[in-house]
């Protein structure tokens, strides 16, 4: 085996990352922030392992997936993930996959960014909430994503009816946790520059999830609501968290049990999508406008 292959092995990289972070943590035993960060890293590493195990098991026990329904919902929405992905395939050396794969390093980096300001809540708590509740939501609407459903044909899939199909694969598409996490970064961004960076990262993540064939457009919309929910938990704003959890759950249950209604009434679907985006934008606006008060040590407005 070549040395470079060994060093690029994901497991070896994970072990090296864990050991280097533990070493860094041990250099200053009094720094609680270091411990929290290493905890977040370890949680991420082990989470991936347990997530794969449970989701693969869940996929095997309940092999019925909603991918065909989600494709039709995209069409009903008027924005098809496959059309966007096809357009993005023309970009030479498409760099968007970097944004998709950069989520864990970005989560670590954003921890440092978010802790620059006082009274900003706990981004670690937001991450933990996301990692625990995300898979539960995946189970409500099990779907794999276009590339796993259609394989090599994912950019030009065959025609099919909007029905639940039997597929082997991990259900991890609806809602998009990538978009949810990117929205957490926006919510926790401290200054103007970081806010701009976070918004750019959110936009790039949305495009990356579509261009890599991991998600449908319809996954991204409840992903935004989910991002507000976990951010609100991190900021201990439980009223807002409850509202956006209800919104996310409504999307999941609506798609699961009422997709025929949504497909039959495209305007209803578009209105709900628009309202969800507006609600997320409103929550973001409230959060950003409350930032000066937060930094001064006042309570968060609900």
């Amino acid at each position: 085996m070549r040395a470079i292959d060994a060093l690029l092995n994901p497991t070896v990289l994970a072990i090296v990352a864990l050991f280097l972070s533990v070493l860094w943590m041990l250099r200053d035993e009094k720094d609680k922030a270091r411990v929290e960060l290493v905890f977040a890293l370890a949680l991420n590493l082990f989470y991936g392992m347990f997530f794969n195990f449970f989701m693969t098991g869940e996929g095997a026990i309940f092999p019925w997936k909603f991918d065909h329904v989600l494709v039709w919902l995209d069409a009903s929405l008027g924005i098809r993930a496959i059309s966007i992905a096809r357009a993005l395939q023309n970009i030479p050396h498409n760099p968007l996959w970097v944004f998709y794969d950069a989520m864990v390093p970005m989560m670590i980096a954003w921890y440092f960014v978010a802790r620059q300001r006082p009274n900003r809540g706990s981004i670690i708590l937001a991450y933990a909430t996301e990692l625990v509740s995300g898979p539960l939501l995946y189970m409500i609407v099990p779907a794999c994503g276009p590339i796993y459903t259609f394989g090599k044909q994912w950019l030009r899939p065959p025609t099919f009816p909007p029905e639940v199909v039997r597929l082997t694969g991990m259900p991890n598409a609806f809602p998009s946790l990538h978009v949810g996490t990117a929205f957490v970064f926006v919510m926790f961004a401290p200054g103007k520059i970081w806010k701009a960076v976070a918004l750019l990262f959110l936009a790039a993540t949305c495009l990356a999830t579509l261009s890599t064939g991991e998600h449908y457009v319809i996954d991204l919309i409840p992903g935004l609501a989910f991002g507000v929910f976990v951010s609100a938990i991190g900021m201990r704003n439980y009223r807002r968290a409850g509202c956006f959890l209800a919104l996310t759950l409504s999307w999941s249950l609506g798609v699961r049990f009422g997709y025929t209604i949504l497909l039959a009434h495209p305007m209803l679907l578009r209105s709900l999508a628009g309202l969800t985006v507006m609600a997320a934008a409103f929550a973001l606006g409230r959060q950003w406008s409350a930032a000066p008060a937060l930094e001064a040590g006042h309570d968060i407005p609900a």
Binding site: M1, I15, F53
Partner: protein, 395 residues
């Protein structure tokens, strides 16, 4: 004034309840179920005891396997004692009883040693009086060790005695470390620092105690099985035990790069030893085995080249040290959650040799540092006068 609700109280109560329920149910079931007796690690020690009593080879996989199958064991080959010959006297008494008769006393012995170890450590920490020593008694890897009939509790007992006696009775403290030598691979950075500390403090009585206990153990071994050393050497040359996967990072690294390169499993241990030296040297004049030694044990567990979940019983001194320092409610709640996760995992379909058991070793270390950092911030109540200055000054 409104009192803040402490979430750590119900969480620890659930963790205690589950741990006690598992253990009591198991111990009640043990004397009545042959399959339960034969399926546990205990059967290995019992079969080894049988071989010793009948002057057989305790390191003969075929012979051991036959005895285990006769006793009701239904697994494959390769289920035999891997400890060095000086551990053989521990298995000898089991050879004089049937597996059904020996199983419960063996588990009760482990439970007794666990309780004794926790009491020794808690007293050493000043018996804070908040009944949190139960976090030591209900430590899931230790109870798992009791349930399986494993020997890691001996290591814990040896470590607890060492911590208790190293200042007042160094020879006895050194002798107690003989128990830790049953599984020396779990203590590599710890042993390195211990040797260096002995040289620097001229604490040669500890070394003498350790050597004397090893010599006594080896003499007893030579008496019960004169060929034990050559049998062990042959077994180590021919067995593939060093290529077996156990849930530790050394083995994961080896299997990820090249499973045949056995030395790769020792890379984390070598790095751990280098860290241990760098950690010890600036602190060598005020070295405290209870405080700094706890961290050293946790790092030793993390970098061990071979180890199972129940081997983490030796983390109890570190856990109790942090608990006695009045950590924050969040830290205690976190510890209870770790206990609960592990209690759920041990009844899940993950086999013991699964990589799913990799997380507890870093988890104890991260929790320990978090608890200590949080207790510093929250402020600490004065420690009892019975504690040594080096202990009470910390955290």
């Amino acid at each position: 004034m409104k009192q803040q609700y402490d979430i750590s109280v119900p969480l620890t109560a659930i963790a205690y309840a589950l741990a006690i329920l598992y253990t009591v149910l198991f111990l009640c079931l043990l004397p009545f179920n042959r399959q339960t007796v034969a399926r546990r690690d205990f059967i290995v020690y019992w079969a080894t005891g049988q071989q010793l009593v009948h002057h057989g080879n305790p390191y003969d996989p075929a012979g051991i396997n036959q005895i285990e199958h006769d006793a009701g064991f239904s697994g494959g080959a390769g289920y035999y004692m891997r400890n060095a010959p000086w551990a053989l006297p521990l298995a000898l008494p089991l050879g004089y009883a049937s597996p059904m008769a020996a199983a419960l006393p063996w588990s009760l012995l482990m439970l007794g040693l666990l309780v004794a170890s926790v009491r020794i450590l808690w007293k050493l920490l000043g018996s804070p009086g908040n009944h949190r020593e139960w976090l030591g008694v209900c430590f899931p890897p230790a109870l798992f060790c009791v349930v399986l009939g494993q020997t890691s509790i001996f290591l814990l007992f040896g470590l607890a005695l060492f911590l208790r006696l190293h200042k007042t009775r160094p020879f006895a403290a050194g002798a107690a470390l003989w128990l830790c030598s049953i599984k020396p691979h779990l203590f590599l950075p710890f042993v390195l620092v211990l040797l260096l500390w002995i040289v620097l403090t001229r604490g040669y009585r500890i070394l003498a105690g350790g050597v004397a206990a090893m010599a006594a153990g080896s003499l007893v071994t030579a008496w019960i099985d004169p060929a034990a050393w050559s049998q062990y050497a042959y077994y180590m040359r021919t067995s593939v035990v060093t290529r077996e996967f156990t849930p530790c990072f050394g083995d994961l690294l080896r299997d990820s790069i090249h499973p045949a390169w056995e030395w790769l499993a020792f890379v984390p241990a070598v790095l751990g030893c280098i860290w241990a030296l760098a950690y010890f040297w600036p602190r060598r004049h005020a070295w405290d085995w209870l405080e700094q030694g706890s961290l050293l044990v946790l790092v030793s567990l993390l970098v061990a080249p071979f180890g199972w979940i129940f081997d983490q019983s030796v983390a109890i001194p570190a856990i109790l040290f942090a608990v006695a320092r009045k950590p924050s409610q969040a830290a205690l709640a976190g510890l209870a959650i770790l206990y609960l996760l592990l209690e759920v995992q041990v009844v899940s379909p993950f086999p013991l040799a699964s990589a799913a058991y990799l997380w507890p070793a870093p988890a104890w270390l991260i929790w320990y540092l978090y608890a200590r950092a949080s207790c510093r911030k929250a402020g600490v109540t004065p420690m009892p006068a019975s504690l040594s200055p080096s202990v009470s000054s910390s955290c």
